[in-house]
């Protein structure tokens, strides 16, 4: 079935990203340096790329469903702006109370707090309402982005540069210590949303429709919202903001897999993970030994492909 092809493709891409790198490391007897590079540097990095991409793809698919908006992406709810703000605070303010975990933890906390605020503002009469969520998220996003820009305009060049590098997506600091956490949150988030995929399908067609099929629309929406929050928080804290994936990967996957969330959520996860692995590979290999921001590369690769698909399939399936 198609999903297995996707899994295979994702694994293949994973291996490519691992071995091709800026310089090819061929499997076989490896020198100590090469082994060190492979296991301590590349493997965690590619794993983080896969995890982040999966989180972003899946949460994009879920969010487009619960908000009933094809333009929704994990960042529209302002969660990433909040995370960027706290992370930039940490970077520019030179905080390091948790060692190298400081900025990721700050980002994660920022994301969750923002998600909580958005959730509270979107709450009325016993449930979350899509329109309220959307408006609250957009409003909060503007606020935090403005605060972020304010902070940047008064900070020194060095802190600024580091903050910007982080915000544009930075996978270079991936290390093994982050992986268990990332894995845990991403898996929880994806499993949580995948088990509610049927409810999501029903919600897409309307609250009353979902009720008729035996779901509690508010409860399901709340659980799905929580999963989106977790996934986005995990992704942003692992490696900054990587745009585009959450927005367009679900649409790309819809071309191949249809709209059923039970297929779409895992497919978007695999698609997002694959794309980010490729983008990270490119960002490392184009101008070695310099590294480009991964978020820029994902957009440069992904957007033209999406436009191409749109033309080819000839139907605006949105």
């Amino acid at each position: 079935m198609r999903i297995f092809i996707l899994v295979f493709v994702a694994l293949f891409i994973f291996c490519c990203a691992l071995f091709l790198g800026p310089q090819i490391i061929a499997p076989g007897p490896l020198s100590t340096i090469e082994r060190e590079i492979l296991f301590s540097i590349r493997l965690p990095r590619v794993l983080v790329a896969m995890l982040m991409g999966m989180a972003l793809g899946a949460s994009g698919a879920v969010l487009q469903g619960i908000l009933r908006n094809p333009l929704a992406d994990p960042y529209i709810l302002g969660i990433s702006s909040g995370a960027s703000l706290t992370a930039a605070l940490g970077i520019i303010g030179g905080m390091s109370f948790l060692g190298s975990f400081t900025v990721p933890v700050l980002a994660f906390v920022g994301a969750l707090v923002t998600g909580g605020i958005v959730g509270m503002m979107g709450w009325k009469r016993g449930g979350l309402w899509p329109e309220r969520l959307l408006l609250a998220g957009v409003g909060l996003s503007f606020l935090f982005s403005a605060l972020l820009m304010l902070m940047m305009s008064i900070s020194t060049d060095e802190g600024l540069r580091r903050a910007m590098l982080w915000i544009f997506g930075d996978l270079s600091m991936s290390e093994w210590s982050r992986i268990p956490w990332g894995l845990a949150f991403v898996v929880i988030g994806i499993v949580l949303s995948a088990t509610r995929a049927r409810a999501l399908n029903a919600l897409i067609l309307g609250d009353e429709f979902a009720h008729s099929l035996g779901f509690s629309p508010q409860r399901e929406r709340f659980i799905l919202f929580v999963s989106v929050g977790l996934l986005t928080a995990a992704s942003v804290s692992l490696g900054g903001m990587i745009g585009f994936i959450g927005l367009l990967i679900p649409h790309i996957m819809r071309f191949f897999m249809g709209s059923d969330s039970r297929m779409l959520i895992p497919a978007s996860a695999l698609g997002g993970g694959s794309l980010l692995c490729i983008a990270d590979l490119v960002s490392r290999s184009v101008l070695p030994p310099m590294e480009l921001p991964a978020g820029v590369v994902t957009a440069i690769i992904g957007a033209p492909y999406f436009l191409y698909l749109l033309r080819k399939k000839d139907v605006l399936s949105i």
Partner: protein
């Protein structure tokens, strides 16, 4: 409408509901729907038809009174069990995501852990959509879409369909097709239907008609018995003529001369 021999799927007893505090909208509403009933809920826009349907399936909760499904309190039942018994199709369907016909019909399986008796393919055959199984909803006509949703409720296995103005915005051809389909399904599967509508003539197709005005039940019974000039004037604030013919029973016509009378 009360037939002691037939069991009742739905009972509304003294139901009270209001959208705003202190201004009850639905007051003291009572009626019962027997198994296999084919009921038209007739009334002007805003008369409370949608509200009643939503109360009947549990989307809205009454402020007082009781609603029973197969003799048991509606709201006390597990939502999945309830979904296997009663299905509600809203007036507006948000089709922004291009689900295929088959995907939508398969959603009828959601309340079930063990697949129900009727399979998706069989249901598609029943409504004549088998050849369109892979078509996207966005490519279908309004009538075909409604048929797809009804097909889904077949898989859902609900014994009672609550349809909120399904004939709105459909060409007369498709309206007739839809009503025929429902009647057909009623015969095949003994499915009861309550359809909210405001087309007076179409109401004649129903076994029983319930007339609603301002949240109140102003009449119920067989169309040829209950539909009179007086009651239609009360419900719709319009003058109509109710004529009888030997072959057709009653039919209703509007005054053809729409010009204002001078004297």
């Amino acid at each position: 409408m009360s037939s002691a021999s037939k069991p009742y799927i739905l009972d509304l007893e003294n139901v009270l509901y209001s959208y705003e505090k202190d201004s009850p909208f639905i007051h003291d509403l009572s009626f019962s729907i027997p198994e296999g009933g084919f009921i038209g809920l007739l009334g002007a826009n805003g008369s409370g038809k949608s509200t009643i349907l939503k109360l009947a399936c549990g989307i809205l909760k009454p402020l007082s009174g009781r609603i029973k499904l197969w003799g048991r309190d509606l709201l006390a039942q597990n939502s999945r069990d309830r979904a296997k018994l009663i299905s509600y199709l809203p007036q507006t369907l948000d089709i922004s995501v291009p689900f295929t016909v088959k995907e939508l019909v398969s959603m009828g399986l959601y309340p079930y852990d063990i697949p129900p008796a009727l399979s998706v393919d069989e249901a598609l055959d029943m409504v004549g959509l088998r050849d369109k199984a892979d078509a996207r909803l966005t490519d279908l006509s309004g009538g075909e879409r409604r048929r797809t949703f009804i097909c889904m409720t077949l898989v859902q296995g609900a014994g009672l369909l609550l349809l909120d103005e399904p004939l709105a915005n459909l060409d007369i051809k498709y309206q007739i097709e839809l009503v025929k389909l429902l009647k057909n399904l009623r015969e095949l599967r003994n499915i009861a239907v309550i359809m909210a509508l405001h087309d007076i003539n179409m109401a004649l197709q129903f076994e029983n008609v319930i007339l609603i005005k301002d949240g109140n039940l102003i009449g119920s019974g067989r169309p040829d018995e209950v539909l009179s000039q007086r009651i239609l004037k009360q419900a719709f604030d319009v003058d109509v003529e109710v004529r009888r013919s030997a072959s057709q029973g009653i039919y209703i016509s509007y005054d053809n001369n729409f010009a204002e009378r001078r004297s």
